[in-house]
Symmetry: C2
Subunit: 457 residues, 2 copies
């Protein structure tokens, strides 16, 4: 193998963000530039940035967009001998000729040959197919460019009323950002509760907290259109009436951006993500994929899932890069851990929620306990609610959800680690977790929940 | 079995704190007062209080001593039908006659018969056998009464210079308390670094932080005596010179208070703690023990250890109570997790440190990584250092230590859970831990450490 007469081969990476650049960097650790030429093609302007940080940049909690950029193209070129071309969109993958076709910002087109190809095309935001959805003042927060434009709008036009469509992670984080910017915030959700990756009872705690923070939360409220009389949004119309808006953010989730792969005949899985094996190989020889564009193995449901999250993208990209470079690495799958905060409320989940457990054909019991983040007498102790699901009979932990004040959320890691190890709640109840009054009550909330669920069964 | 003519049997509990009252309460859940009479005898004045909270009461972070008391004797009597006698010391256990001999505060003595006996005699503070160690102004912080006397001394005499002897958990917490009280603090430690349950390199981080907080830390400094010309302490003498002191606290650790059991012929283990099996049975039929007075199984070293910690006492007491009440429960052992903070510094450890791993005949590799508690660009991100030990060959995690700013310490729970499950560092490196910028960098510090140690091997 190897295109050049000198035995050098060529890796082309489509997508210059977390997965793509992790793969490129890791491949470089295995192979020198004399052995492997690496070219990364990025449709946008920025490489290797923290997309998860965009809401905090919009809030001005993070001062500069540049703060979110981990490495820029010049750094990749100089330190890693990886060429990155931004504003370079790949329009087609030709597997027979082993080239990708490119379109550049200046209107020109080209072709780039590859020996190995790394797909890291990310996710596409879901946009409602509704009148006015592309009006001025309606924003997504998918890319850093989106975030920069949104913040510029806030700082230039000083909008007073924000409408956030979608009550998931991005919706909550943007609601927080707009509150911090001093705006009136309406949060519109089609389902009965926010945070639909939680069970509705736990989502209800988030709803109550949102109201206390001053967010106008509108459940069961599908959006029907956007009023934009002169091309600029003025209101959001819903089944329950209109909501005035100087600015609108869409947080309706994402889908894997697998269109290029599909068009090239690369296998797509049931979730719409590129199908990969544990080494991040696609169905096409020499073609790898990682990050938001792929689907991945869920260790509890044993089914493929598409989860857009930077931490998975980084790990998967690293695994792909190891394998591309001639090493051996496997991505072990996920347990569906996710974590966010909105003002003083922390929200976390891992494993399967009730609906997911039903779908995965588990019978299960649940427990919900209310406890305290610290010893009750210690200043700053606050409420934490922990819900656990365990398989009936075996008592195996299937999932957990946490809603609470500061220091509540990261406790999800204990549940994620327990899930990883297929622990039973009875075994969990005896665990030797860290105890001291500033950190936990003498029975950690996680242990109380596990014990109560073990006793119930 | 059963003493009374009506088939009622009698449980006597020696020690009315965490282990004893947990056992009593749990036994009561199984057996009504018609079936089981329960009498708890407590030498001190208080029952069922958080001993771990005493430093925070001394600091006045916790306003009232009563805040630390979970349940008082009246509550036990009314709600649980458990009789508690305070200021009632047990002076002898007579296994042949199945009675305990008691001595009361008023000088009277008595005997109490039992069918089952629960030993929850706690730990005794190590006191140096040095001149002046019992002078006025020299305090322990073992019991709530100690804490009340110490706080009264501070509030009545307004001492300006405090000397803390011993740089372990209690020593650090008392140093914090005295700083918060506005005192000049000297912390005297016989070993080279504070926190000897950490390896010296990690202890060194604690030492540096103590100095930054304004604590005068004196390593390698054995105490040689206490200067108390008129019965009140005025200075602490050490191998390295004298230190003026208006008040002195001894934090030299504890030993299991197993003297009564030993005198009764009950088996004592190699650590000096009462030997118990997983059901918390001692060598004597019908005699149980739990809490700081027992030794317990360490799941990593597979050797008995004596660890005085409220969370173990509660769990073990509960196990004993289940079994006393006719149920079936086992205490699964510990992995040696401990956690504290001193001002802004959080310190945590679990499993074996290097010296302990050597003693347990493990060959091992270590890694130490410096990372950030949050995404680097997120406000409040601060330093965290994670050290891991893994067995050579297998890569099995043997222990971990964490020193860092706020939000660093409780991450020890991931390591404790991994140890519980005998995970390898390679398996840990792939775990799906919670990620969001306010909570962690995209690679959690724990994952980075596991990955680097897995790569090194």
């Amino acid at each position: 193998m190897g295109r050049g007469s000198n035995g050098q081969s060529r890796l082309v990476v489509i997508g210059g963000d977390a997965a793509g650049m992790s793969a490129a960097s890791q491949a470089r650790r295995h192979k020198s530039s004399a052995e492997l030429e690496i070219l990364a093609l990025e449709a946008g302007e920025h490489t290797s940035y923290s997309a998860c940080g965009i809401p905090y940049f919009v809030a001005a909690t993070v001062p500069e967009a540049q703060d979110l950029v981990v490495r820029d193209p010049a750094t990749f070129a100089h330190r890693h001998h990886i060429e990155v071309r931004t504003r370079c969109e790949v329009t087609k993958i030709d597997l027979d000729r082993r080239v990708v076709r490119t379109a550049h910002a200046d209107g020109s087109a080209g072709e780039e040959p590859f020996d190995q190809l790394m797909l890291a095309t990310g996710a596409l935001p879901r946009r409602p197919d509704l009148p006015g959805a592309d009006a001025e003042g309606v924003f997504g927060v998918q890319t850093l460019t989106d975030g920069i434009e949104l913040r510029a709008e806030i700082e230039e036009r000083a909008p007073r009323r924000a409408v956030v469509v979608g009550g998931g992670y991005i919706g909550l984080e943007m609601a927080e950002a707009f509150l911090q910017r001093g705006m009136v915030v309406d949060l519109i959700e089609a389902l009965p509760e926010p945070m639909s990756t939680l069970d509705p009872d736990m989502g209800g705690l988030v709803r109550e907290a949102l109201r206390e923070m001053g967010v106008n939360f509108h459940p069961n409220t599908p959006v029907t259109g956007f009023e934009a009389p002169e091309g600029r949004v003025r209101a959001v119309h819903t089944a329950g009436g209109g909501h005035e808006a100087d600015i609108v953010v869409l947080g309706l989730g994402t889908r894997p951006n697998s269109d290029l792969a599909r068009a090239a005949g690369i296998a797509i899985g049931p979730t719409g993500g590129v199908a990969v094996d544990a080494r991040m190989r696609t169905s096409a020889p020499g073609v790898w994929a990682a990050g938001d564009c792929v689907e991945t193995f869920h260790r509890v449901s044993r089914a493929p899932v598409a989860i857009a999250l930077g931490t998975h993208a980084n790990k998967q990209g690293r695994v792909a890069g190891d394998n591309i470079g001639g090493g051996y690495a496997r991505f072990p799958g996920v347990v569906g851990t996710a974590l966010t905060k909105v003002c003083g409320l922390e929200v976390a989940r891992t494993g399967l929620n009730e609906a997911q457990a039903h779908r995965a054909a588990y019978m299960f019991d649940t427990v919900t306990v209310e406890s305290s983040t610290r010893a009750g007498y210690y200043p700053g102790a606050g409420a934490i609610t922990v819900k656990l699901l365990a398989e009936r009979g075996s008592g195996r932990l299937l999932g957990g959800q946490i809603v609470g004040c500061e220091n509540a959320g990261k406790r999800i890691d204990v549940l994620a680690t327990a899930l990883w190890n297929e622990m039973t709640v009875a075994d969990m109840a005896g665990m030797d977790l860290g105890y001291a009054p500033p950190f936990a009550p003498v029975w950690d909330p996680v242990l109380i929940a596990a014990r109560k669920l073990a006793e119930r069964r």
